[in-house]
Symmetry: C3
Subunit: 338 residues, 3 copies
């Protein structure tokens, strides 16, 4: 695909070579995210960070990625006070807001809303999450993390063995990650979930059709053996018909250090799209794993910044200019990403 001026709406837009393009640019962004270097390549450019559904971390991550390239951020954090709430169409909102910024990141709870918005926008739009549908930058940062963790272990994404654990039905991040992994070769998927929260059949079929192996299981301990990656998810309470319904599945699959040690191979990577629920009755990923060096969950969020920087740089065609306006950091930074 040609990234310049494009909308990023769905992981379905990407071929394997496109993903490699994003990852190569993301690698170049590390010195800036690490605060070794400062670039001002987008000085004067404006991001419209339009979060009509609130999300502190995704919003701040996109805003931070933009700031790291030198640009300014204008943003909104809810739909309540917006014109949309006064009956404005996505068409109108898009036509208006696209007069204010050079690029827009949009999140809205309605499936398909971001695509409808993008069709009327005069500037490129990145989908920051439209309900249970798509959140492509999350899938890219997950895959980027898998690639980097595998590299550190002398392996590749091809031939990966991954166990997906928890709410596979409503977990948007899981759905998109499955799509992206399907572009690679010879992946072994173990899907561990309660029967009611299985990965929807359409995703299972697509994975198989791409030539990968899928094993479904309700047994955590057996399922995580021999995996390279454990991808654990929280129950997506907000997508359930009721809190009561969601509570049924709380704490059904809990990974902790003891289960990890007894069942996993050494160096098995632990991932999670975050937030993890650390309350007593949930704890799908126990705090006692915090000192485990294979816990990659914070490397994931760190990687989110460079992936988003890469998308911005590719869409606005400034990849080759980043280094030109760069200099060393002049303030205290020790210990940040180390």
């Amino acid at each position: 695909m040609n990234f310049i001026g494009s909308h990023i709406l769905s992981v379905s837009q990407f071929q394997r070579e496109d993903i490699e393009t994003v990852f190569n640019v993301a690698d170049k962004m590390i010195p800036y995210a690490n605060r070794d270097r400062v670039t001002r390549v987008l000085e004067g450019a404006i991001l419209g960070n339009m979060f009509f559904e609130p999300s502190t971390r995704t919003r701040v991550s996109f805003g931070c990625a933009w700031n790291l390239l030198g640009g300014e951020v204008r943003e909104t954090t809810e739909v309540k006070a917006s014109a949309i709430a006064k009956g404005e169409s996505f068409y109108d909102t898009a036509r208006v807001l696209s007069g204010y910024s050079d690029i827009i990141v949009m999140r809205h709870q309605t499936e398909g809303s971001v695509e409808e918005f993008s069709a009327a926008s005069r500037v490129p739009v990145i989908n920051g999450g439209d309900g249970s549908n798509e959140h492509p930058s999350q899938a890219l940062l997950d895959l980027f993390t898998i690639r980097k963790e595998m590299e550190g272990r002398g392996k590749t994404v091809d031939d990966l063995r991954i166990a997906l654990i928890g709410d596979l039905r409503y977990g948007r991040a899981v759905h998109s990650l499955c799509k992206l992994l399907s572009l690679y070769k010879n992946i072994h998927f173990t899907l561990i979930s309660p029967a009611e929260l299985r990965l929807p059949e359409t995703y299972v079929e697509d994975i198989k059709a791409s030539g990968h192996v899928v094993v479904e299981s309700e047994d955590l301990q057996a399922g995580i053996a021999h995996a390279d990656i454990l991808y654990v998810t929280r129950t997506q309470e907000e997508r359930f018909p009721s809190q009561e319904e969601a509570d049924k599945y709380k704490g059904l699959f809990r990974l902790n250090q003891t289960i990890y040690t007894e069942n996993c191979e050494p160096n098995t990577v632990i991932m999670h799209p975050l937030p993890r629920d650390s309350r007593g009755d949930a704890r799908e990923l126990d705090d006692d794993l915090n000192e485990n060096p294979n816990l990659a969950i914070f490397r994931q969020t760190d990687n989110g910044v460079v992936i988003r920087m890469a998308l911005f740089a590719l869409i606005l065609d400034v990849v080759d200019q980043v280094e030109k306006s760069a200099r060393d950091v002049n303030w205290y930074t020790a210990g940040r990403f180390r």
Copy 2:
């Protein structure tokens, strides 16, 4: 008037020559809003974008205008968590906040609040809307749009024929626009509204006293014939005593392409202060007009950015410095304002 260091509280501050001053500066701002050029003239300056009543688009438009001049934005989006809610006077709020920024844009639902605030502020204040009272930058962008649309048709604001349509009683934008137009010569106003939502008598009297013609009507189709500009407004539901009361007037005057074609002269301009209500029972301005090149509603919001840039530049006395710190844009921008 002398703009340097002045508050902008009401359209009543302006004489015709002041408006021309703003418009001339606004014209100079177009290359920056269009992303042909970048200026950093206000690098290091801070805007206090204080929206105690929420308004996504006006807030983002002011913030964007400021960023386009190179400055930083600090902002607030509601009154709930503010000191005002703890019993603080506008005097105190103004004294405190004016220590934080170089200029303040303030919106608050209480009529007269911004003027009271400005009296205690140590920095210039722009009224971003005080209840149903004033919103001067909206009136300026409306008039600027009228001027530009008329220019494109070989006409002028003098001798304009304008039809104002809908809720003329509560529509703050309409009230202010009438005041500004009254400064010009030989305007023909057609006021089309339900009897209960007529333009308040005081405005009608002022228009007439300035030597213009006013015709009132409840007939949309007859009223829009021979007009140069149709200025359509939404029912200002939030100003009505109840939703029930507001609903009575929903959908009474709907403009669509068929009515336009059958009644208007070619090239009649369609304006609206936005948001327009696109829900089935409202639709004062039908979506089927979206491809009509005379629909100027998004040119209005685009013009809002350059008008606000002009106000900032005039008040802070940097008009002559804008170009000095300017350079060409170095990122992808094709298709933005075209």
Copy 3:
């Protein structure tokens, strides 16, 4: 203490010499806060301004201080939509957010929350207020104001006579100020409050143990005679078990110009951590004092900006670089801090 890379969590971290270090740097920041000069020393650096409990003025003050040093601000204004509300631990929140910015200011209603957060953060954290516990930058700006006001009167913080008035039980600002003042010599404290809202015994004991004099009183007029500083506080309604309970103490101690003139020595300084409650039934500090030149309440908030600039500059080790990237202001600023 060594400021570089340190968290600022509590006034208990400071020795007298540390306070003097902060104040000396704060003095150097005045030309920038006054808009005589602009510095870009932190251009490219990002502040994570994380206000999980809303506070317009403290949030904007920190953000403004950061902008005045040239940095960018990413922020959040409530806990409702945050991952914390989905069961995320402060540990996780800190690990994630510290990947986004160079320094974090955090406010949260839970006592101890900011310290817990800071333990997991990879970047320095400043406590912007954790419930009724600590708000160290407020205490520093109060003491800085006292020092400057005393200097202007040929006096020092040593040998100060201060009357603390109002809700001394729940007033976090008062507690911290007492701790800081205890580091100086020979202070005379008059504590004026209803019996139920007395300064907690532990603070009284600590002050006495540091060799200072404490007099407690319920008589405003006698208590304020012979004081150098009157430090008046609002009833901290939000900390009371109920609004009813809080209302009992409203308006018990009201200072106005008449009481001031009749009881105080000339040039007695009036301070207040703000907001003051200007509603009829509260008014602990009457509006008729607004023209009294000894009313220092807005000098306090102005001083908050330079104190926060000083903390940022010390923690990020850029004090000596500030002037290097500085230039004169090029826009209208007359009348701002004068």
